[in-house]
């Protein structure tokens, strides 16, 4: 954010190229369709539109929360951003540098951007010590052993693990929370500026989850980090995020500042999602299920608006044209719903 | 189920083509040129060319392959270089002789293996387990040709209980004299399947017995035969797969044992062909045995899918 505290890390400050107003990451038209092959010859019988034409910005120093049901493409998006999966089509601009031969290379992008995985167990190599896991990226970049060891100790310290005690342990000797701390340390090893946290706290107990969230918050302040925080837990996203993005079947349906999206959700799906959020107040029980049924099959998504099959306001026009993400009056808050687009033909659209 | 079968059969096709290609290539990889082995040494080049032309050996390789494949598919395996007789007849009668002992050896080996394996699993950690496990290790470690020699020395020569060589008089159904000739080969050949099947039965049974649903059955006081049925259902697919492989190995693996007992099976045929450099016979035998091996495995896959629906992927 613009009024961030004084630069705790001068190195990070010097790496800031475009200034505070330049988004750290600009994503345009991110698309990934997985072909479905079946039969004996492996003919292409369909595609899963896992991620379809996503465009959004990640501002410097912010936490962008990403929410949506299972299978809506959140994790695929994370892997596409990390270049682990190859996107069909995309344009990435990292701090003003486009990804590609004219700008930033994939290797350099990965230096600036790292990822923390959900399953703390599966994401640590069972045959490597904690220190080797964390130091792997630096060793692979040819740094001498003793320098890497010093860096690893520093990182362990930062994530709240005593180096002398944990350095030589193996992942299976650690608890879930400790392993997730190791995962965070590993992601920080290359001193990235952007962390993608893919359900990073979802598998943890509530008490541990709170500790890790606090750790993430303090690391963000210390190291001037930016997060893309993917989660299906609306309470957690509300707690940690500055802005949030709601996904449905591979598309963005709503994006905006957390207080606005939570306070005044514009998309029927966002409203249903928020209504399904368990309340801490037992008097405010959810009696009517706000959304029913499973999401439609992503192999053959509904035409037009993908949510229309579960939307109580759906009209004929919703099947004919796909709503695009349009900013509302105040500019920060955008929504992809025909009901919010003047002249769309929907009976509830503003005139 | 039908879809599974069709898919498996189609998957087998490229494998069969591959087998035929490799077998065909055998001839051309031999150290000695095939034409050389057909003509007497020192023959004039004109004779060589003539022979090559008669057998289509002057044509391009792919044409030779198609020609050969066409013949093979019509049951014509060519002519032995040594005897000058068609290979097909000799091969099929040898195969029948081999199947005769292979079948019984498999039967004995599988039954003993299942029995001992199940006993070892039930008595896990006791002396029976150790004894049978030792049996199994010995079974898979014994060189069959050596064991065959020992059996002949002891039972045929020292004790003179059974004949040492050959298969005795012809005829069907089998009578006592034929059985006497079959005892030693069957004993030798059943050792390996006994060991392999015993080990897998033991391991699979132990695994099945340790599963939670079996514990639940025991806790519910189910009778032993109900539990046995569950164990059998859960171990059968694995055991079947191993048995299929073993049966396939037996058909071809009897080569050394054939040699010791002078049993007129595929092994003896193959051995004679190797010694005399009779390449077409080697080629035909390798092709036929491999195809049988593939078909046996196809049959096992199908049987597995019938027992365990999860296999019908």
């Amino acid at each position: 954010m613009a009024d961030a505290p004084l630069h705790a890390d001068p190195a990070a400050a010097s790496r800031d190229r475009g200034g505070p107003l330049q988004p750290l990451l600009i994503v345009r038209g991110l698309t990934k369709h997985f072909p479905i092959r079946s039969g004996l010859m492996g003919r292409r019988t369909g595609v899963v539109q896992a991620v379809d034409d996503l465009s959004f910005d990640v501002m410097k120093g912010e936490v962008l929360g990403v929410v949506g049901e299972s299978g809506c493409g959140k994790s695929t998006m994370a892997r596409l951003l990390m270049q682990i999966l190859k996107a069909d089509r995309h344009e990435l601009i990292f701090d003003g540098d486009p990804l590609g031969h004219t700008g930033i290379t994939t290797a350099e992008l990965r230096r600036q951007m790292q990822m923390v995985f959900q399953d703390s167990h599966a994401s640590l190599n069972p045959r490597m010590t904690i220190a080797d896991c964390i130091g792997f990226a630096r060793r692979m970049r040819g740094e001498p052993r003793n320098m890497v060891a010093a860096k690893v100790d520093d990182l362990l310290e930062r994530v709240g693990l005593t180096p002398a005690q944990y350095r030589h342990r193996y992942p299976h000797e650690l608890s879930g929370g400790q392993r997730q701390r190791v995962n965070i340390a590993r992601a920080l090893a290359l001193e990235p500026r952007l962390l993608i946290l893919d359900e990073a706290v979802s598998a943890l107990d509530k008490s541990i989850e709170a500790q890790i969230l606090n750790l993430l918050n303090s690391l963000k302040a210390e190291l001037k980090l930016t997060y893309v925080f993917i989660s299906h837990d609306l309470n957690v996203v509300e707690y940690i995020s500055d802005r949030m993005m709601v996904m449905y079947l591979g598309r963005i349906v709503e994006i905006g500042p957390v207080d606005q999206v939570y306070g005044d959700p514009k998309h029927p799906y966002t409203r249903a999602l928020l209504a399904s959020k368990p309340s801490h107040d037992p008097r405010k029980r959810t009696l009517v299920p706000p959304i029913t049924g499973d999401p439609p099959n992503p192999i053959n998504p509904p035409s037009g608006c993908r949510f229309r099959t579960r939307c109580e306001f759906a009209e004929g026009v919703c099947g004919q044209m796909a709503p695009t993400l349009k900013p509302l009056d105040n500019g920060d808050h955008s929504v992809a719903c025909l009901m919010q687009q003047p002249g769309s033909g929907h009976s509830r659209a503003p005139i | 189920m039908l879809q599974f079968l069709i898919r498996r059969v189609i998957q087998v096709m490229p494998i069969l083509v591959g087998i035929s290609l490799i077998t065909f290539a055998l001839i051309h990889m031999m150290p000695r040129n095939i034409v050389d082995s057909m003509v007497p040494p020192g023959s004039p080049p004109s004779l060589r060319a003539e022979i090559a032309q008669i057998d289509g050996l002057d044509k391009p390789l792919w044409e030779q392959y198609l020609l050969w494949l066409h013949q093979v598919l019509h049951g014509n395996f060519g002519v032995s270089l040594v005897s000058g007789r068609p290979i097909g007849d000799a091969l099929f009668s040898a195969l029948l002789n081999s199947l005769q002992i292979t079948f019984f050896a498999a039967l004995v080996g599988f039954l003993l293996g299942i029995l001992f394996g199940a006993l070892a699993a039930v008595k896990k950690g006791r002396w029976q387990d150790s004894l049978f496990s030792l049996f199994f290790i010995a079974g898979i470690s014994v060189p069959p040709f050596w064991f065959a020699i020992l059996l002949v020395a002891i039972f045929a020569f020292d004790l003179n209980w059974v004949p040492a060589q050959g298969m005795g008089p012809e005829g069907w159904p089998l009578h006592w004299e034929q059985w006497r000739h079959m005892i030693l080969p069957i004993a030798t050949l059943s050792l390996i399947p006994m060991g392999v099947v015993g080990r897998i039965v033991r391991a699979a049974t132990l695994e099945a017995l340790s599963q939670e649903f079996v514990t639940a059955l025991v806790a519910k006081g189910m009778r032993m035969d109900v539990i046995r049925e569950h164990v059998v259902r859960n171990t059968a697919p694995q055991v079947l797969a191993v048995m299929g492989l073993q049966f396939g190995y037996l058909i071809s693996g009897s080569i050394l044992v054939d040699l010791v007992f002078n049993w007129p099976g595929t092994g003896k045929l193959l051995n004679q062909a190797i010694l005399s450099g009779d390449i077409p016979v080697i080629q035909a035998a390798v092709l036929l045995l491999s195809v049988i091996f593939v078909l046996v495995n196809l049959g096992v896959d199908t049987a597995q899918a019938i027992i365990d629906p999860r296999m019908r992927r």
């Binding site: 692979m140 | 087998i19 077998t23 031999m30 060189p143 050596w146 080569i255 190797i274 045995l289 491999s290």
Partner: protein
């Protein structure tokens, strides 16, 4: 432990062959043919050409151990590499490698060895080459299965995020996690390899006389089994004992490395 001890003893004897024997495995005395076990000067008797059995058995251990171990090691190197590549790369590369292996896998092992040996001609090298061809496909399968199982794991993706090259990811992250089942399986092939190598020699396709190799010795002593059964049985006994030891060690390895099956 016993198995380890016996194997170690056999290996040590094979290495120290010139020092524990008279060092002349090829020369025999025609007057001292087929002496029984315990003969003065020939502790284990003599063979059909009057050569000292002890000397020949110890020298035979050299050839037999090499023809048992080398194919497994070669198959491990080739099959392991192909399997890891197939598993890690997936897709078309995987299909190409695995379908090719299916064809070789479809040949019964003994038959494949015999065919390969018939093509390559007799000798130590062709025995090793033939058995390597026999063992490679199954090692590819085991390795491919193990690699495919871990390829989608998050830690492999995390390693790719780190920017390491595929080669280094395979070396540092994949291999340590697939080695256990593959090594256990390979060790179980060693016993089989010794038997098959001896079998090839027994058929006259492997080592040729007068080389002291257990399978070959068994073959040339075959007719003498009625004269001196115990002497004639010795080479086979050596094959048997070595093979049992290797299999017992392999089983121990399986337990120690906690490998389930395969």
């Amino acid at each position: 432990m016993t198995a380890m001890g016996i194997s170690a003893l056999i290996v040590m004897l094979a290495i120290a062959a010139p020092y524990v024997t008279d060092g002349q495995p090829y020369s025999g005395n025609a007057l001292e043919r087929l002496k029984p076990i315990g003969t003065h000067g020939h502790l284990l008797g003599t063979d059909e050409l009057g050569r000292d059995m002890w000397t020949r058995l110890v020298y035979g251990a050299r050839l037999s151990l090499i023809s048992g171990a080398a194919p497994v090691l070669i198959a491990l190197a080739i099959g392991g590499s192909l399997g890891v590549i197939a598993g890690y790369a997936g897709g078309r590369v995987n299909a190409l490698i695995m379908r090719t292996m299916d064809i070789f896998y479809a040949f019964p092992a003994v038959l494949l060895a015999i065919a390969a040996c018939a093509v390559l001609g007799p000798g130590l090298l062709s025995t090793i080459a033939a058995l390597s061809i026999v063992f490679t496909p199954s090692i590819v399968r085991i390795t491919e299965t193990a690699t495919t199982r871990i390829r989608g794991m998050d830690y492999i993706e995390a390693a790719r995020c780190s920017g390491a090259t595929d080669f280094r990811i395979i070396l540092h992250q994949v291999l340590p996690n697939v080695q256990a089942p593959v090594l256990v399986y390979a060790s179980s092939l060693a016993g089989l390899s010794i038997i098959l190598a001896a079998g090839l020699s027994f058929l006259g396709l492997g080592m040729s006389p007068p080389n002291p190799e257990w399978g070959q010795m068994l073959n040339s002593l075959r007719q003498s089994i009625y004269v001196q059964p115990w002497v004639a049985a010795l080479p086979g006994l050596m094959i048997f004992v070595t093979s049992v030891c290797f299999n017992v060690i392999s089983d121990g390895l399986r337990v120690a490395m906690d490998v389930q099956d395969g």
